[in-house]
Symmetry: D2
Subunit: 402 residues, 4 copies
C-alpha cells in the first residue's frame, strides 16, 4: 500500500472527493427499507433530485453505476432495431454507442474528433434528412469526461425542434450534474442519465434517470427486454418513498446529506459559479505552462474537468505516475485513442481554491520532475485569477440567491 502522509489528492474527474459529512452520513446503521423512517428518506431524496435535475418530472434512482442508468435510458424507451442517433464526442459517447449496439439498437454514430461537442446544426441536418422519422432517439453526452468538452444541450434541443422531428432526446450528465448548469425541463430533455460519484459528491453506487412525460409514454410501448431497470416498477413504490427492490440505503443517507449541502447551503447557482471559476483558473494554468487544451471550442470548455495535451514525444501516463508517486495525486488518464496523449484534471465536487492550488502545483511540479517541457507560472496564473477581487466574491448563500 502506498504511504499517504496527509490527504491523497483525488483529482480524477470522478469519483470525486467525498465530503466528511457525506461519509459520516453513510456510516450509520442500515435501516428497514420497508419502514416509515425509510419512506421519509426516500421521498426526500427523490424530491431533492428533482431540484438538482431542474425538473418537475419523474426521477428514478438505481442502486447501480452510471453505466446502468445509460442502459435504463435505452431499454425503457426503445425497441429492438430502433434507430438512434449518437455522436462521437469521446470515449464515453463511444461506450454508450456500443451499449446501444449490444442491446440490439441500430446506432448511427456521427464521427467526431474528440475535441469539440455535438454540432447542433448537424443534428438538425440529420433529422431533417430523416423524413420517415426512423430515428427514435438522439443521444448526447452533455459533458464528455474523456475530453473535457461540454455539448450545448439547449441548442441541440432547438435543432431537433427546428427539424420538427419527434425523436426523444437522451442526455448523459454523469460528469456535469450538480457541477455545470443543466436544465432537464427547460431544455426539453426526455431522459437524463446521471451518477452519484461526481458533482453529487458521493461514492459510486447510485445512478439516476430523470424522465419526461413523453419518455414515460414511450416506455409503455418500448419492447427492449428489461426488468431491473424498468421505470414502471419504480413509480408505484416511489410515490410513497419506497423502492421495488432493496435500495442502497447507506448511499441514500449520503445523498440526503449531499443534497442539503448543494441545495440548502451552497445553492445550485453558487455551485455552478464555483465550478466555472475553478475551470477558468485551471485553463489559465495550462496556457501559462505553454500546454494545449484538448477542447478546441471555448463555448464548450468543461467546468468540471480539464484535459491537457502532452507535448509531442512525452507520455501522459509516465507523467501521471511521477505525480502519483511523488505527490500522491491521482489524475485522469487519456482513454483509448487519447491514451498517453492527454491527462485530465478533475476540479469538480467538494472542492475549493486551495485544493485547486495544491492540484495545479502537483501538476506543475510533476511536469518538472518528469522532465516535460513547459514554462513555470501556471499555478501563479491560476492564483492571480483566483485572488482577483471581482471573481472571488464570497459565495452567495442559497437564501440570498433566490
Amino acid at each position: 500500500m502506498a504511504l499517504h502522509t496527509g490527504r491523497h489528492f483525488l483529482q480524477i474527474p470522478g469519483p470525486t472527493n467525498v465530503p466528511d459529512r457525506v461519509l459520516r452520513a453513510m456510516d450509520y446503521p442500515t435501516m428497514d427499507h420497508r419502514g416509515q423512517e425509510f419512506a421519509d428518506l426516500g421521498a426526500e431524496v427523490l424530491a431533492g433530485m428533482q431540484r438538482v435535475f431542474q425538473t418537475e418530472g419523474t426521477v428514478v434512482i438505481y442502486p447501480a453505476s452510471g453505466t446502468g442508468a445509460w442502459e435504463a435510458a435505452l431499454v425503457n424507451t426503445l425497441s429492438p432495431g430502433d434507430k438512434v442517433l449518437m455522436f462521437e464526442t469521446g470515449h464515453f459517447a463511444t461506450l454508450w454507442m456500443k451499449m446501444a449496439d449490444s442491446l440490439g439498437l441500430d446506432a448511427e454514430f456521427v464521427p467526431g474528433d474528440w475535441r469539440r461537442g455535438v454540432d447542433p446544426a448537424l443534428v438538425e441536418e440529420k433529422l431533417r434528412a430523416d423524413t420517415a422519422h426512423a430515428v427514435k432517439a438522439v443521444c448526447v453526452v452533455h459533458n464528455e469526461t474523456s475530453t473535457g468538452v461540454t455539448s450545448r444541450i439547449g441548442e441541440v434541443r432547438k435543432a431537433i425542434d427546428a427539424a420538427g422531428h419527434p425523436a426523444l432526446l437522451l442526455v448523459d450528465t454523469i460528469s456535469s450534474l450538480a457541477s455545470i448548469d443543466y436544465r432537464h425541463d427547460a431544455w426539453g430533455v426526455d431522459v437524463t442519465v446521471s451518477g452519484s460519484q461526481k458533482g453529487l459528491m458521493l461514492p459510486p453506487g447510485l445512478s439516476f434517470n430523470a424522465v419526461s412525460d413523453k419518455a414515460l409514454a414511450a416506455s409503455k410501448t418500448a419492447k427492449l427486454t428489461r426488468s431491473y431497470w424498468d421505470w414502471n416498477d419504480m413509480l408505484g413504490p416511489n410515490a410513497k418513498g419506497f423502492f421495488p427492490y432493496t435500495p442502497a440505503t447507506n448511499l441514500l443517507y449520503g445523498l440526503r446529506e449531499a443534497l442539503t449541502m448543494l441545495l440548502e447551503e451552497e445553492g445550485l447557482e453558487n455551485v455552478f459559479a464555483r465550478h466555472d471559476r475553478h475551470a477558468e483558473a485551471s485553463r489559465r494554468a495550462v496556457r501559462a505552462w505553454g500546454l494545449e487544451l484538448l477542447c478546441q471550442e471555448p463555448r464548450e470548455y468543461s467546468s468540471s474537468l480539464t484535459a491537457v495535451l502532452m507535448p509531442e514525444g512525452h507520455d501522459a501516463d509516465a507523467l501521471r505516475q511521477v505525480i502519483l508517486e511523488r505527490f500522491d495525486m491521482s489524475l485522469g488518464a487519456g482513454l483509448t485513442k487519447l491514451a498517453g496523449k492527454v491527462f485530465r484534471i478533475g476540479h469538480l465536487g467538494a472542492f475549493n481554491d486551495l485544493m485547486l492550488a495544491g492540484t495545479l502545483a502537483g501538476v506543475e511540479m510533476g511536469l518538472s520532475a518528469a522532465g516535460v517541457p513547459h514554462k513555470a507560472g501556471g499555478v501563479l496564473a491560476a492564483m492571480d485569477y483566483l485572488s482577483g477581487a471581482e471573481e472571488a466574491a464570497a459565495p452567495k448563500m442559497a437564501a440570498a440567491g433566490d
Copy 2:
C-alpha cells in the same frame, strides 16, 4: 423521526445489522478505481468471495441489488423463449419467475404451498419427462426469505444428475450466503446469485454471481440482450482487480472488512454453527409460545430467519407495529399471500446470544402488549438452550478450524 434511545433492533431478515467495523471501513475516502491500490482491493475481495461461495470458479461483483444478480444469472445464460423450471417456494421465487417472464423466458412454475422447499424427487421427475431437453435451466431459491425454508441444493443437484439432464442449475442464496452452509462447487451449481446485505453484513448495494465453467460456456451463445450484466465484460478487467465500469468502491471497502471477519477471524464453519444455534433457539421460543412455525419440514428449517404463523384472527402487521413502537424493533412482514399471517424474525449476520435474547424478548413482550394469545416462556426456552454447556462452546477460532 422515531425516538431511538439506545440501539434499534433491526431483526428483519436483511438488511442485517452492519458491524461497526464494516461501517467504519466504508467511511473512508473513495479512491481512484483505476489505480494500483484499488486493484489490490479488487483482487482481494474477488478471491475472498470465492472462498465464501466455496468455489474455485468465477465470481462476478455488481454494483446493484440482489435483484440485479438474479437478472444477470438469467440474461448471461439463456436465450429468448428458453424454458426454465422454477419452483414456487415463496414470494422471492415468485418474483424471480416473474422476472424470467418479463425477460422473455418460458418459465414453468411448479406450484408450492410456501411451507416447504423444492422437492428433489419432483425435480427429477420433471426433468426425466423432458426428454427433448427443452428445459435450459432449473432455478431454485436456496433460502426463501419470505418463509424461512431452506431447499436442499445438494439433493436437487443429484436429482438433475439422476435424470441425466443437461439443464443449468441456478441458485439464489441472497439470504443464506455466509449464514448457512453453501457449496457452489461441491453441489455442482452453475450460477449462484447473492447480495451484500444479509450474511455478508454489509449495507445493500452489491450483488454477486458465482459462475461455473459450464455457465460461462453457455454465456457465449446465450442471446438475451445484456450489457450492464454481461459477465464477459467483467472477466478481463477482473483478472487484474479492476472493473469495466465504476465499481461501488466504498461498499467494496466494507466487503474487505466483512471478509476478514468471516474468513480470517470467525471462520465460515463457526459462522454456520452460530446461525444454526440461533435458529434452533428461536424455534424453541416459538414452540414455547405455542405458536406455529411456517416451515413444515424440519430438514428445511432456515438458519437465517424464522417465520411464525399468527393465531387465527390476529394480524401480524398490527403486532409488528406494536413491537416497533413500543420496543424499537423491526421484524419482517408476511409477504403477498402471507400478508398479516406471519411475521419473520431475522437472526442472521452480525449477531450474538444477547442480541437474540433481546430480540425474542421483544417478540414475547410484543405478543403480550398486542394481546396475542400465547404462553410465556419463549425467551426462557431459548435461554435454556443457549446456556446449555455443550452447544454454547466458545467459537473455534479460524486457525483451529483448519
Copy 3:
C-alpha cells in the same frame, strides 16, 4: 483479541454505550479552537450543560476524567488544612476522601456499610455539633457507582440548613447526571462534579463542575494550589465560548450531539423516567432470581445501576468472566471490600428495553452457566414489568413535556 460476533454488551456502570450519532459527531476534523465556529460550539455546550445540571449558575468543562473534576471542586474552594465532612457510602466516596487527604485537607470520614446513602439526620447532627464552623464543606456522592445507592441530596441540603451551618455542599454526580433527576440550583448545591462517560453518553475525557455563586466567592480566597483546574481562568474565555487552554474539541462535538438528544429530542424528564423504569425492571429480575440487592434502602435505589450480592461461596468475578467469555457482556466488578461479592449491572445512558432484556438474559444465562444457585424467571419478571401497559407508555416528546 476477543471474537465479537454482533455487538458487545457494555453493561458496566460507565463508560456506557455511546450512540452512533455521538461517535459520528466526534469523527469530524478538529477545528481551530480560536475561531468563531469553535466559539459557537463552546457557547452551545456550556449553555446545554446548564440545562442538564438544572442550574443558571456557572458551568466549567475540563478536558479530563471525572477524577479531575473532583480535584477541581476541592482545590477551587478550600485551603490547606480545611476540614471537610465526607461519608463512606462506597468505593468512590472513599477515593474522593483519599484525594482530599492527599491535597492536604482534613477529611472527617463518616463510616458507612456501603449499603445505604448518606443519612441526612447524621449530617445535621454533625454540623450542629460543629459550632465553630470548622467544617468548610460537606462532600456527598449522589449516586455511588460502586454500590448502586443514591443519596438524597435535597434532604442533605435541608439538614445543612436546619443546622444553620455555612459549609459548602459539594456533590459528585458522575454516575447520575443525565440519568437520575438532579437539581443543582433547587437543591442548593455549591459544586456539582460530573463526567462525560455515563448518562451523557460520551466516551470518557470530559468532566464538569457546576458552581454556585457562593462557591465562586469561596474560590477567591481558597488557598489550595491550582492552575489547570482554576475556575477563574475559565470564566473570561468561556464567556465568549472559548477556553484558556486547548479544549478536547472532538469530545465537545460529541457533547453537542448528546445534548441535542437529551434536551431537544427525548427531554430530561423522559430520560429520568426511562432510567427509573429500567432500574425497577432490573430489581424485579434480581428478586426473581432469589438474589439480594446490595442497596438496603428502597428510597435510595439507584436508577442507573444495580449491584447484586452473590450467594455465599460464589465468586462474582468468576461469574463475570463466564458472562464475558460466553455472552460477550461486560459487567461491573465489586470494588475493594466488595471484591468478588457483588456484580454491578449498568443500565444507564443510551439504552432501551430490548438492550435491557438482552442484558438480564446474559446475567441469567451466566448464572446458569457458572453454576450459581438461583431461580429462573428474572428476565421474565422484567419483561412482565416492561410490557405492562401503564409503565411502558411511549416516551413523551420533549415538546409535549414542556
Copy 4:
C-alpha cells in the same frame, strides 16, 4: 456557520489535521477500561509512546490537555518555594512560568526577545553561579509554538553538565514531538511534556510525561500537592496496561492508530525529514515574498511551524481574516506581544507537498487580496524546492530505515 466547499485548511500550529484513519479509529464503541482488551491497548500505546519519546524510561498518559502535562511535570518533581530556571522564548514559555508561579514555585524567568531559543551558554552561566544548587529544575520549551523557534536541548543538557549542576531538566515538546527529532534519553531530559494534538495527529485531549529515573526519584520527596497528576498512582496500573482512573479510551484508540502510522509505516526518521523539508520550503516562500521570518537563528528554525512578520503598518489578524473568509484556511495568530505582528503557518502532522502548496498559495493569495505589500513567487520558490530531485526522494519505508 461558515460555508465549506471542500476541505478546510487547518494550518494553525496545532491542533493539526487528523488523518481519516485516526478519526475512524476513535469512532469505535468505548470498551470496558477494566477488561483485557483494554489492557492490551494500554500496554501497546504506552510502549509506542516510549519509542516516540526515544526513551526506555517511564511514560505517563493523562486524559488532559498539554497544559495539564506541564502541571504534572512541576508538581511531581518540586516542592513549594523551589527555585526553577525558565526562559522567555515566547508566549508558551511565559505561560509555563506563570503556572510555576501559581503553584508556589520561585521561577526565575530569563528574559528573551521571542526571536531565538534558549542560549546554552547562558544556562551554563546561570547554573555555575548557583553554587548553592538552589535551582531545582531548568524548564525549556523545545519548540516555541508562538514563535517557530526550536531550542537546542542537547546543548542545554551539555551546559547543565558542564556546570556540574544537579537541577532537573524539564522540556516541553508539545509542538515538536513526532515532528522534530527529539531524544529524551540521549539528551538526558528528566521530564518531557507533550500533547496529542500536533505531531501525534490526534485531536486534543491526551497529554504526556516522559520521566527519567532521576525525576521519578525526585517525585518521592516532592511536596507540591497533587492527586490527579501523581505519577506514582499511575505506575502500578500502567504496568498491566490499566490506568488509576477512567482513561480517555477513544482517544487512545486514535493514538494506537497514529503510532502505527508514525512508527510502523512512515518511520520516525522519515517523519522528521518530511517536516524539515516542508519547513525549508515554507521559509523559501517567505523569503520570496520579501517578508521576514520571526526566528533569527537559522540553527533554531522550527520544522513544525513558521512565524512570519508582517510589514510595518499591516495587521496580521486582518490578513488572517481575509484568508479565512476567502480561502477557508486557518492560520495561527500572533500571541500577546506579537499580536497583529506575526502570523504562523503550521506545517506539521498529517501533511504532504500538495497540502503545503495549497497552504502557501492561500497565504500568497491572501497577501494580495488583503493588500499586503509582497512579491509574488513564494509558492513558486517552494515548488522549485519541493520538486528538486534530491530532496523529494520518496520517503524511505520504516523497514528500509532500520
